[in-house]
């Protein structure tokens, strides 16, 4: 589904991604772990088309050149990002926002738009996945939401848009254990054969709840180790410092 080859990204002449190689197949869940500043969030940003990066390398998504598409075209092609810091949009109702988004995608795919009634029942049903109160639909997008509510809202949006490829950027940050459980069970319910997920996290904790097929460790803009879920457990014991030899191998100074 997704093939990233030698992806490099720099901003203001500072190279942040230094040759990332990664392949995801439909149905797989990959986790990317790594210390702060290792380039995890930049990778997410580049994949959704945030402006301002100088890029080289390639990203092939379902046979298309992903980097050539605008952010909304990527969304229409099924790419979704659960943001690390979802932004507030005052005065724009959450349900209205999502209906506009869903209908934009449907229009792009040549499907009929959903009317308000059909959308509402879909929205309500998907809210149950993340145990959100229906009143959230009438509130402005993310405005005055707590950290946990914002993250749940992201997963709710994902459940409505049903992406093929979802990136979860530090979805666990700032969540207490109960909220984490709710968010994770929402994500797990959305795992399916046709869907790939890239879970970016700092902590092994999230991976107790969302068990990945593969774990990659990123450091200094590269993927320095890959393995299965046991790699995450190993990291928990040794910490990222244990990676230094690998870093030396690829010739990067920390």
């Amino acid at each position: 589904m997704l093939k990233i080859k030698e992806l490099r990204a720099s901003i203001d002449n500072k190279e942040i991604l230094r040759g990332v190689n990664l392949e995801l197949k439909a149905g797989e869940v990959h986790a990317i772990m790594g210390p702060n500043g290792s380039g995890k969030s930049t990778l997410a940003s580049v994949l959704i088309g945030r402006d301002g990066y100088e890029l080289s390398g390639s990203v092939e998504y379902e046979g298309q050149d992903l980097l050539a598409l605008s952010p909304e075209e990527r969304a229409a092609a099924g790419v979704f990002l659960a943001f690390q810091h979802p932004v507030e949009i005052p005065g724009v109702g959450n349900a209205y926002f999502m209906r506009t988004a869903l209908n934009s995608l449907r229009r792009h795919r040549g499907q009929e738009e959903l009317d308000a009634v059909d959308f509402l029942s879909l929205a309500q049903e998907r809210m149950k996945l993340v145990e959100m109160d229906p009143t959230f639909m009438n509130r402005s997008v993310n405005e005055g939401f707590s950290g946990g509510e914002k993250k749940r809202n992201e997963i709710w949006q994902m459940a409505i848009l049903e992406p093929k490829f979802a990136i979860l950027d530090e979805t666990d940050s700032g969540l207490d254990i109960d909220a984490l459980r709710i968010v994770a069970s929402g994500v797990n319910a959305l795992r399916s054969e046709g869907r790939a997920m890239l879970v970016i996290t700092h902590h092994q904790r999230l991976l107790d709840f969302i068990v990945p097929d593969y774990v990659h460790v990123m450091a200094a803009g590269q993927i320095v180790r890959s393995g299965d879920k046991n790699l995450a457990l190993e990291l928990e014991e040794t910490g990222y410092a244990g990676l230094t030899p690998s870093l030396a191998q690829v010739g990067v100074a920390l």
Binding site: I48, A75, V87, T100, A101, S104, Q157
Partner: protein, 488 residues
């Protein structure tokens, strides 16, 4: 932004249609028009007055205003720039009607009817769908007022200003200039000298006006100024909601619009006045467009009276207006809700004036300014609490939104409090449409232009919800059209 050519293909049909329309009201209607010679002097004023068969006292009032105007110089304190206006090069009177008097709506000039159909305004009384009574004013003259009979049954007078001068001279004489005196300011004084028509509305004691009243202003003839005058009087315990809409053709030369609106609310009366102003804004290089220099003021003279101004200002090359309320009656309430947009090369200096005189008077100002393109937006507001205004309260909130990097926004709040018990709260914010907000919308699949329109409409929601339903929809569409091309 990446790949702008591909993003446009995602814009909804409706948005594209609206966007392609640019300024959709820019047509000119070919109507036989009787015009006065260019220029301003006592003769012209006598001519206007004579054309309207006005009583002597009114002519005298006009002449007093004119003589006073000669002593004035145009204000220069506003934060807008434009070349000098040649007041001798303006036509002060243009009458689009055929000579013969019309006795029923069916006799309205078909060309005129067609023009209003194009504007989406029905003058036919048989079409009662909208339930809005309309007074249509073209150039200087009121051409049709609908639903008059139905309103007359409950005692509501709704007619053109000229008609009111003849039919209800005592009311006009009593209230004309009582809120905006003829010496008030340069443009109001000019208007007092040369005003040609406008709407008049009187709601008797205890009557809740059964429908929305609406005036539709249209400048059609070239090189004319439009100087209308509106007077609304709400007697004790009455209520009226009044709407005002404006459009003009696209012309290369600037045209002057200097209107005066006076509102009077007596004890327990309420007036809600809504404006959607969409005069021609000029082209992308700032050529042409309306100079909109307007004085609007309400006198909340009675106890517990209430006056609300709601405005959506998207048109005009220059906007200069400060709808205000004089809160004279104890416990009276004044409100101002405004959305003002400057795009292209538009300039606006607008805000509100709340003068607290009575005890426990309360005012609210919510202003949302949006600047895009090379737009210049200034909020200027005055909250004045006099010594007598014991327990007065004001809340002001001014929010500015900038789109792009060539526009600007300023806020000039003036606060004068002369008693110890007054409470004034002022909140202000300026934000840019964040790249972050746009990216968030686009990541969810919403095309860029639509995302901007959504964010802007969200920003204005507090004000839009104060508008009557059909106006709110129109206002949202207007913003979308006016913002076309502001991004990317």
């Amino acid at each position: 932004m990446s790949a702008p050519t591909t993003t446009t293909s995602l814009i909804s049909d409706e948005v594209r249609e609206l966007a392609n329309q640019e300024y959709q009201y820019g047509f000119v209607t070919d109507i036989e028009t009787e015009v006065a010679p260019r220029g301003l002097n006592e003769e012209i004023i006598r001519l206007i007055s004579a054309k309207k068969k006005e009583p002597e006292w009114l002519l005298e009032w006009r002449l007093k205003a004119y003589r006073h105007w000669l002593t004035l110089t145009p204000p220069t304190w506003q934060h807008v720039s434009y070349g000098p206006i040649d007041y001798q090069d303006i036509i002060y009177y243009a009458d689009p009607r055929p000579k013969k008097q019309i006795s029923s709506m069916d006799e309205v000039d078909p060309e005129l009817r067609e023009m209003f159909n194009k504007l989406g305004i029905s003058l036919g009384e048989q079409e009662r769908l909208s339930g809005v009574a309309v007074d249509a004013i073209v150039d200087s003259v009121s051409v049709a007022t609908t639903f008059k009979d139905k309103l007359a049954k409950v005692g509501v007078i709704f007619c053109s200003f000229s008609e009111a001068v003849h039919e209800h001279p005592e009311l006009v004489r009593k209230y004309l200039g009582s809120v905006v005196p003829y010496k008030d300011n340069f443009f109001a004084t000019l208007n007092s000298a040369v005003f040609t028509d406008g709407s008049f509305c009187y709601i008797p004691k205890g009557v809740r006006c059964p429908m929305e009243l609406s005036t539709y202003f249209r400048i059609n003839a070239a090189d004319t100024g439009q100087f209308e005058r509106t007077l609304i009087i709400a007697e004790e315990g009455s209520y009226v909601s009044y709407l005002e809409g404006c459009t003009a053709p696209m012309r290369d030369k600037n045209q002057l619009h200097a209107a005066v609106v006076e509102l009077v609310a007596l004890d327990d009366a309420q007036i809600k006045y809504s404006t959607v102003q969409n005069w021609y804004p000029g082209d992308a290089n700032g050529k042409g467009g309306i100079y909109n220099f307007v004085t609007k003021r309400g006198m909340a003279s009675g106890r517990n009276s209430k006056i609300s101004w709601t405005q959506v200002e998207t048109g005009s090359a220059i906007t200069w207006k400060y709808p205000g309320v004089i809160l004279k009656g104890d416990n009276s309430v004044g409100e101002f809700y405004s959305v003002a947009l400057t795009a292209r090369r538009q300039q606006a200096d607008t805000g509100s004036k709340m003068v607290h005189i009575g005890k426990n008077t309360k005012s609210t100002i919510i202003s949302k300014g949006i600047s895009a393109g090379h737009g210049q937006m200034t909020y200027r507001g005055l909250v004045d609490m006099r010594k007598s205004a014991v327990g007065a309260r004001n809340f002001t909130q001014c929010d500015s939104l900038l789109i792009g990097k060539d526009c600007a926004s300023n806020t000039f709040p003036y606060i004068e409090v002369k008693n110890q018990t007054g409470q004034v709260e002022h909140e202000a914010s300026t934000s840019k449409i964040g790249e972050e907000q746009l990216l968030y919308c686009r990541q969810r699949g919403i095309p860029e232009e639509e995302a901007v329109s959504m964010i802007v409409n969200g920003f204005c929601r507090e004000v839009f919800k104060m508008l009557p339903m059909e106006f709110a929809v129109e206002a949202q569409k207007l913003l979308t059209v006016s913002l076309e091309g502001s991004v990317g």
